[in-house]
Symmetry: C2
Subunit: 128 residues, 2 copies
């Protein structure tokens, strides 16, 4: 039995993938995969996703150079979420932070930024 | 402005919440919250979710005693995913593993179990 048979893609054929930096344990981002993007992720060792907003297949880092090399691929008890350990080049977040989860809510409801911005989006996407 | 205004709940009023054990960095599970379950999570300091399959509000650990105390609540750049750091009592997974992500896919496509089962479901849910 293929492990794909143990996965549950949703009504849109998608499954959420949590991306964690293996060496630090930092959760970098969450994005969606369809079966084709998961297959190419496994075949190439680089993460590929399905963009729900753009309805488009994309390789993480295709514009920014900030690719992710897969180190481990796990799935949960219900088979409806993936957890992928990666080696991350540069910032995972398109806003230039290492992690997309760079903001936390404090007890008083205020929002604080919890990590430095490594690059601005202009620095990332302006360069050709 | 409330941080709720920076969140995007989906068409069903839900947002995915990644739960990470703060002291180890282990990603424990992913579950869904609606606004009410997020509000009560913040108010009580214990994680509460919305079960899509049961269409029911639940506190993590209400049956098993394996509650999660919130240590940090972060949200991502798009405001459509939460990352919650917790202190976990016992196994997070209803199958008795610390993490729901206890299975990884090996290079040959085989699935391996990557952590010990701490308790059986019967041990967790059989006890009253």
């Amino acid at each position: 039995m293929s492990f794909y048979d143990q996965l549950k893609f949703d009504a849109n054929g998608l499954i959420p993938a949590i991306i964690q930096e293996q060496k630090t344990g930092r959760v970098l981002m969450m994005a969606w995969m369809n079966r084709a993007s998961l297959e190419i992720t496994i075949a190439t060792g680089k993460t590929h996703f399905w963009s729900r907003s753009r309805q488009k297949f994309w390789m993480k880092g295709e514009s920014s150079g900030h690719t992710q090399t897969v180190k481990d691929l796990a799935f949960d008890c219900d088979g409806d979420t993936l957890l992928i350990q990666v080696e991350q080049i540069g910032a995972a977040c398109h806003e230039g932070y290492k992690s997309c989860f760079f903001r936390s809510v404090e007890g008083n409801g205020n929002v604080k930024t919890t990590e430095p911005q490594l690059e601005t989006p202009e620095q990332i996407y302006g360069k050709k």
